[in-house]
Structures are given as C-alpha cells and as structure tokens.
Assembly symmetry: C2
Homo-oligomer: 392 residues x 2
C-alpha cells in the first residue's frame, strides 16, 4: 500500500539542548511571510536591517557583518577558507569539539595547524597561546569563545593582545554566546568571528552571522590564490551584501526574514537586559542542580550561562534520563560529545528558551527522572534553591 | 534619532523571475511550525519523508538523495568537491552562466577543466562532448540540464552514454528543472545531480537536493584525499542522513519542514500532471509572446517550460520595462546575465507561480509596459493567443 504523507505535526518540544532553542512566535510568524526576490528592493531593505542589527549584537562597527547562507559550521568554514591559503600556519586552541573542528578545516585548507590543547571543561590559558604563537609566523589564532561541547566561556581579551603582538589575527567562535552574553568584538580586539542563528539568537538554524574587521578584510584582499570554496567566497559575497548588490547565490529569503525578526526582538529587549536574563536563569538552574547534589563541569568563573554542562552522577544512565525527559516532559537536553559522551548533560538556556518557567520545569523533571533511576535526591531541594535565586 | 525597525511587511510580489518562485500557502504555513531538535525522533521522520519524496521527483532509487544545507550553488559545490581530487580532470559543458560556475568550482578543487563550449541559448551537442572526453581520462562530465541563464533544456541521454563509454560519471545541474519537467535520473543514466528548492519545487531558497548513485558513491569512497569542504563532506553527511544519524552539523529544521510540505504538494498533484501544467502555461505564454511580435531565445525543441527566455526587441529599455512590471503590477521577471544582459528577459513559470492567472496577467502587463516604451504591439493579440491555448 502506498504511504500516506500526513500534515506536519511534530511534538511540541521545550528545547533545552545545545541548540536549536525555541523560537519566539513572532519569529515563526515572520517565516510565513510571502517571498520577494533576492534582488528585490524590499529584500535589500531586509538585508540592510539584518546587517545593522547584527552589528548591535556583535558590538562592532565592522562593515562586513553579514549572515552566511548556511548553519554555524558553514560560518566556521567561511572564516577559515577566506583567511587561509595553502602553506599558511594557524594556531588553533582545542579544548572541545568545536576547536577540533576548526583544526580539521584548517588542514583541509592546506594550511598547517599549530595545536594548543586544553582540558575539555576548562579554558585555554593566554600563556599557552603565547608560547605556541611566538616566532611561528602563524596568520591567525582560532579559539572558541563559547564551547558548546563543554559549557566553557573563554576570556578573549588577553589572547587578542597576544595575537596582535605576534602579527596574527584573532578568530573567535561565538556560536553559543552571540545574543546571550557579552560578545564585544571591537572592544576585545576580535578580528573575525562567526556564529549561528539557532542558539541565543533564537532563530531557526540555517544562517551563520560572520563579522570581519578591516585588517581581516585586507588579508583576504591580499590573497594570492582563489578562495577554495565558491559558495563561501567573501570576495564575491561582499559585493552582494555591499553597495553593488551583485548577484552571487540566491540568499535564503525566509531565513533572513526570521533573523531580522529575532534581531528585532533582541533590539527591543536590550542587550544588557537580555544578558542579565540569561545569567539569572543559569544561576537559578545551577543553584538547583547543586542543591540536588549534582555538580557542574566547568569552574564557576568560566561557565557559560547559555550552555550549562552538568556532570552525570555515577550510576545514572545518561540515555534513559534524557529519554524520560523527552517522552514524559517533551523536554530536550543534550548529551555529551567526544570524551564527554555519557559524562555530562548539556542544558541550553538560550534566547527564548531561557526562562524562569523552563528552569523550574526542568529541575522538577530532572528530579523525577533521577528518582526513577534510583538516584537519591533530596526532594524539592533543587526547586527551592532556584526559587530563592528568583526571589520567589 | 534612533532608527525604528518596523514589523516585516514586504510587497506582495508575483514571482515570475528565474527564482525564487512563489510558495503555496501550505508551505509558508509549515514554516511557522515550532522547531524540534535536529536529532529528535520526530525530525528523523521528517528526514525520512524528505528523502523518499525527493527520490520521487528525481525519479531515482538512489539511497543517497538528500537536501544539502545551502542553496543551489552549495549543491553544485557539493557534487564537485566530493567527486574531484587535485589533479583530476573534468569535462565541463559551458553554454551559460551555470556551466561557467561549474568550471570555476572545478578549478578551485585543483582539478583540470576541459571545456566544451556552446552558444548561450543553444544546446551542447553530444559529439562535442565525445571529442573532448575521448582519451582525456576525465573523471566526470558536468552539464546543465536546465540552464537558468538561457532557458535551454539540454537532452542528457546521449551524453550520459558517451560519458559511460569513456569511463566518466555524468553530473547534471537540475536546479531549474526538478519538479517542473522530466528529470529521469535512473532512466537517463545520470550518476549525480543537484537542484535547488526555490524553483519548480516552490519552496523558499535554502536547501539543495542532491542525488548520487552507487557508482558515484564508490568514487567518493575511493578518494585519496579529504573532501576540501568540511561543511559539504558527504563522507560524514551520509552518516547523519543514513541509518546512523551521527551528528554532523545542525540541519536547517524549518527549511526541511518547508521542503517536506512542498514535496507533499507535488506528490498530491502527481508528477505527470505537474509537468503538463508547466508545459501548458509555458505554451500559452510563448504563444502570447509570439503573437505580440516578440520571439524566444532558444530553438523550440530545446525550450524549458520553467524558464522562458524572451528576446528584448530593439529600442526597448530592459530595465524600464522590468521596473514598470515591478512597480505597477508587483510582478518580478528577470533580466539577462553575462553576454545576454539587456538582451533577454527571463520569465520563470515555476511551481506555484506557473498558473494560467499569472500568464494572462503577465501578458497584459507586458503589453502595457511595451506600449509605454513606444513599442508598437498589436493590441490584445498576446492575450488572445494565450487564451486560445487555454481553450478559453
């Protein structure tokens, strides 16, 4: 018998994993807006708004601040393939999956990777970068500001200074920080950064905002070889997003509608209020987790409010807990990746998903799931601790 | 004064350019569906449906038939970067912009391009391919089935035979044909093809369906070097879309919702009915154009029903006509590209945009715009000729 394809009707999930986060209803509604062409004057207005509003969240004046037509990893690849040429060297900091991915892409560019390795769950220290970089002739230092695989927030200012003193650019992954915590591109001296839309910006996955300062653009202009990716070649794409509006590829119209609306929501909320909300919800969640007798992976001062990495207690089955959260509560949280598989849960409190309501429900659900696993948890302690943070 | 970002409210365009086409309201509505995670069991169902329904429109049994997370040009790049390695040779057929683009990407792969050139507006002849390919050792022949820049429909069967006799794969660009006219991947012997969502599939831009047969997958498996693009590396992506469901990148959830709905509409309409509708609307449009005293660029037997390339009459200002259509009728049509700039209009009659209503309105609007340009047109002749095709 022929299969029948029914109307789309997925479960109504609360997305508290490493991304995507839930979208505000206004973002979903924006996507139902009928299309215009990718060279339509009305779309050029949308593009202008998106660029302006992206500069706000990146806290930058960089002219070349645009959404690439792919998800976050396409943004990572964009920065590397445009900056690097065969034979170049790059210092790549690896303390999680996304640092590994950067190193992989650098090699695919025909460039040499100088690895700076750190523990998964801790930061990279400036002096590590300095000793790897000094005299190496590396063109850039690549580092992850918000490591989605470990929940670590990496300070960037000192490392930016070191990079500049050694004639290198600083390239930062801000996929899980942009729009949820401070990302001060200009003030910190970050030369190039990329992000994704489906994390703290609370927009569906599909675009990758990138920003390049003039020094980085000069590096691209001085290339001796063509960028190896046609699709991600900024020497052409900057003319589509710039004054000329030259056709390159057909931009994902609807995704740009969504991103504009998500950025408009951030503009209305205000960056500082938004960061405070993310921090408060993370504080409440962590207080709840610790009151329940569990602990967090990263040291307190380097924790991301957007991605909360909880150590899985001994004897508790990772997959069973996550399956119960999904099946009984419609809540998605993430498991660990790589060396942290089975060792941590990754709880995203990002954008629209970062709310008091979600924190309280998750703590209640987690207590229930842990008890179902036979894990001894002091009843109600998590909820009470979180309530206290909220002043309830 | 601070700029105010108002609610999105673009003009309500009738999209009759080279893409995007208009979306059916059900497709727009599908995009307002709340997100699930990219590894959610409910999303895995969506992925399965999308793969099955894509095989229907590609008329293939190819297991590896998936939407890449980028627009059509990302699909083009996907096929080339996965199949080619530095030092390989590829025969690329160039009779329009998209053949040029293929050649550009082949060079960026470090492979050698053997060009087969044809006139913009005509087909590539099998014997041209044969003489270029014979003894060359080329790994593939790249050719555009539906050249969006010229409106030419390229027959593929004979060229597939020639490719196979010479040990090469046939790679076809079906961006402007898939879902609007016959694309018989298996029957014609096309080994690899890519497409876009925003043309005859009538889905917003953002995904690029690709299909690879087993012979092509074997070529990828036998690579000696890594695929130069991490983001487009099928050796990893096939494990996300395959049984294993390994995380690679975060798929654009919403775009996949939209594609599923667009493919569901095609499934309901039926491929043959859909192709007949596209052909009928193109026939009516062309009859109208010719009755108005204008003519088409490609020879009759090689015209695409989806992309109708009309020669701009002498003395008529390309840009003024298109501006009048846009400003007074809210209709978008396309101008020429490359050597055809200012010489042709590109009228897309694709997917949901391919309707009797749109054809009649466009002919009326075009007559009005031509008269406003002082071009002598027999009043009402275009409309009458189209009406006759429709049996009105």
């Amino acid at each position: 018998m022929e299969k029948t394809y029914l109307e789309l009707n997925p479960s109504q999930r609360i997305l508290l994993g490493p991304g995507p986060s839930n979208c505000h209803p206004r973002v979903l509604k924006a996507m139902a807006t009928p299309l215009v062409g990718h060279l339509d004057p009305d779309f050029l207005d949308v593009m202008n708004d998106v660029m302006e509003l992206l500069r706000e969240v990146f806290q930058t004046k960089n002219q070349l601040t645009i959404p690439m037509s792919g998800t976050g990893s396409a943004g990572m690849e964009t920065t590397l393939v445009n900056l690097l040429e065969p034979g170049d060297k790059a210092v790549i900091c690896i303390n999680g999956l996304f640092g590994q991915r950067m190193a992989d892409i650098v090699e695919r560019c025909g460039a040499e990777v100088i690895k700076v390795e750190g523990e998964w769950g801790d930061i990279i220290k400036p002096e590590q970068v300095e000793s790897a970089l000094k005299g190496s002739g590396a063109k850039l230092v690549g580092i992850v500001h918000a490591e989605t695989s470990t929940g670590v927030r990496q300070p960037l200012e000192d490392i930016a200074k070191i990079a500049h003193e050694n004639g290198a650019l600083l390239l930062a992954d801000t996929v899980t920080s942009l729009g949820g915590l401070e990302v001060k591109i200009d003030e910190w001296g970050v030369d190039v950064a990329y992000s994704g839309t489906q994390k703290c910006l609370s927009c569906p996955p599909g675009l990758s905002p990138v920003t390049f300062n003039e020094k980085a653009r000069e590096v691209i202009r001085n290339r001796k070889t063509k960028v190896q990716s046609w699709y991600l070649d900024l020497t052409m794409i900057e003319n589509y997003w710039g004054q000329e509006r030259f056709y390159h590829h057909t931009a994902p119209i609807t995704m740009n509608y969504a991103l504009r609306e998500a950025l408009r929501l951030i503009h209305e909320e205000g960056l500082q209020q938004r960061f405070a909300r993310h921090q408060k919800n993370s504080d409440a969640f962590v207080a709840g987790i610790e009151a329940m007798g569990l602990s967090m992976l990263p040291p307190k001062e380097y924790r991301l409010p957007s991605l909360n990495a909880v150590k899985i207690p001994d004897g508790v089955d990772d997959v069973k807990v996550r399956k119960m959260l999904l099946d009984k509560f419609n809540i998605e949280i993430g498991g660990g990746l790589g060396v942290l598989k089975g060792k941590i849960w990754r709880v995203g409190l990002m954008g629209y998903s970062s709310s008091q309501r979600n924190v309280m429900l998750l703590l209640a659900a987690l207590e229930t799931a842990l008890k179902a696993q036979g894990y001894s948890v002091k009843e109600g302690a998590g909820i009470a601790a979180a309530a206290e943070v909220y002043g309830l």
